[in-house]
Symmetry: none
Subunit: 416 residues, 2 copies
Amino acid sequence: MKLERKAEIIAVGSELLLGQIVNTNAQFISRHLAEIGINVFYHTAVGDNPERLKQVIQTAQQRSDFIIFSGGLGPTKDDLTKETIAEVVGRPLKLDDEAFESIQDYFKKTNREMSPNNRKQALILEGSDVLPNRFGMAPGMLLEHESRFYMLLPGPPKELEPMFENEAKPLILEKLGSREKIVSRVLRFFGIGESQLETDLEDLIDAQTNPTIAPLAADGEVTLRLTAKHADQAETTRLLKETEDRILERVGEFFYGYDDTSLAEELAKACRSKGMTLAAAESFTGGLFSSWLTEMSGASEYFKGGAVCYTNELKVSAAGVSEDTLQRYGAVSAQCAKELAAGIRVKTGSDIGISFTGVAGPNTQEGHPAGKVFIGISVKDQAEEAFEFQFAGSRSAVRKRSAKYGCHLLLKMMEK
Amino acid sequence: MKLERKAEIIAVGSELLLGQIVNTNAQFISRHLAEIGINVFYHTAVGDNPERLKQVIQTAQQRSDFIIFSGGLGPTKDDLTKETIAEVVGRPLKLDDEAFESIQDYFKKTNREMSPNNRKQALILEGSDVLPNRFGMAPGMLLEHESRFYMLLPGPPKELEPMFENEAKPLILEKLGSREKIVSRVLRFFGIGESQLETDLEDLIDAQTNPTIAPLAADGEVTLRLTAKHADQAETTRLLKETEDRILERVGEFFYGYDDTSLAEELAKACRSKGMTLAAAESFTGGLFSSWLTEMSGASEYFKGGAVCYTNELKVSAAGVSEDTLQRYGAVSAQCAKELAAGIRVKTGSDIGISFTGVAGPNTQEGHPAGKVFIGISVKDQAEEAFEFQFAGSRSAVRKRSAKYGCHLLLKMMEK
């Protein structure tokens, strides 16, 4: 069995430090390395400055044995990743004939004249394996030197990403891969805060080794990433399943799906599997819920449409709320939410109607504070229901949270 | 004059190293520091591991005198940024009463129970200035210690970004600012590609020194960031204005606004200033356009609402399209777009009606390929117009691009 590798990623480019671009390469490479069981312990970004780059490389040599560089392989004087690594590790650069030919071809194909500095792009660290670049000129490379691996990749994501997946990953698996099978799964929760979830699972999280359990909160949702490793694939899966079952025993009521799914996607699936159709009357959410439900292809199977009834007049004319309700209870009320839901269900001929009425903020409305929200649900042959919430946060957060709760409530209802 | 600062940004969180999220915080902070003339020389990301974090802090101390941390201020045991810095710099943590109160308030407001580990979030490094968190619980802080500055910020961008702009930036300017006045401005363009824009401005971009001109393409829009520096504020502004004028002379027809604005926000402003109201009938965009227009507070002044008419039945019943039109021309047609726009305008009593009908994809519809889109516009006492597009890209890209073109067309119309 091969050694456990300690990897780190060094991005070279002053445009990162000026905030002109975001370092998506580090994320991309990290995600792919995690999948093949290689641990990344550091990301660094440094500018096009040979002195600082040199020091960053030396720091990396002290703590990592697989160092991956992105950027700085271009034709200009600014681009000095190769030259600086050559100096630090004491390996010369030499012209790679194949890479040089492919650069010449590229210019012929695009009918442009090659400038002398493009020759620089065909230089490689002596003794390294070359990674061809199918979407640009600079080749990548992998060098093994004094029991450390150095991988050099081009900066533009549209060159780096295919090169990594098609050329680099197989080479890494061959030369550095671990024999352990890694399986990772994300559990998604809604309606429970991060700290509550952790409190409920404290002993499991404290005792985590294999699988590891990593909680993350974003956009009003909490996720747990479970990652299991084992030489035997079946055992990896068993380990994962065992931990997942323990977690869901305690907080299963808040669980809604795996990996990259969303509440809207799960709701779409549920509607499809029950053969039910949906319509929405949206006041302060202004179409947000509907736009989520129509984001998936095939939405017409379960979503009919609805009304964006921002004004009170439209609540009456487009969604069938009575004038009397608006006068007696106001638009921000359980009664209005119920009538909106029932009205839009009937008008669209759907099985389920949902409504959103409330105060997105930042100002108060009808005497209600920002964040006061009513969600109405109407199902054929059942009494309408209304759910009241008081959310905190910005206007945008209140709208998103409300639309998510709408999905959540419908999912819970359909589970029954 | 104050010293030239050497800044570096350290992001703490294993989710970065696993590639689960991208480090947008480093970009955000870098961009804002560049604007106020503070040079960032390194970005680092490290996991939730006290030993490695400690070493990263020690490396930073050797090369930087302004160290900014993002992440690791949460309530859980994983969150250890404060604790580790306290150990490295030798400053104790103490409870900040105001921060603790604000956390308690947050729980009261949202009707949830505070778990004991939330108290940990109110601990601050003794002697630091506290940065209140308006969108979450963990306060930020700035500590000056042995001629170095340490700034701690929460990890979630929706907390970090407003905290940085409103609380941190003024404090940095006061305590660490340079005397050179830096003015930066973003010009936003729609309807022109990045390479076309660069070709049109090639000589200006090549000759750039002060102001610098940085192009960036994202989400179908192109932006140019101009940044000028000068000891004299008036001169900085003059330099910026001069370059902006030259740019707009050539590509002004595609320019729509400054800095963080959006097409929807500019459209909202235009409607307000002309006192005109708007309604939308959305088929394949499913409420996306409406949700953008209602994202801004005070939307009721210019936006009445509309219909999400995903099905043909709703195009007829909710937006007044004739059955005959659907049969003769189909839903994906100029004629249908015009009737939708006119119908929703009349039904909502608005000054302007806009409609979106087309094929979001990935499948074809009525024989039309994915990306075929008609946008209809109807203005009182004018003949309806329809605009035809063929977009490329994913379902999500086609929907967004269509909603943006809707804003763009209305803006152009209102300019006349």
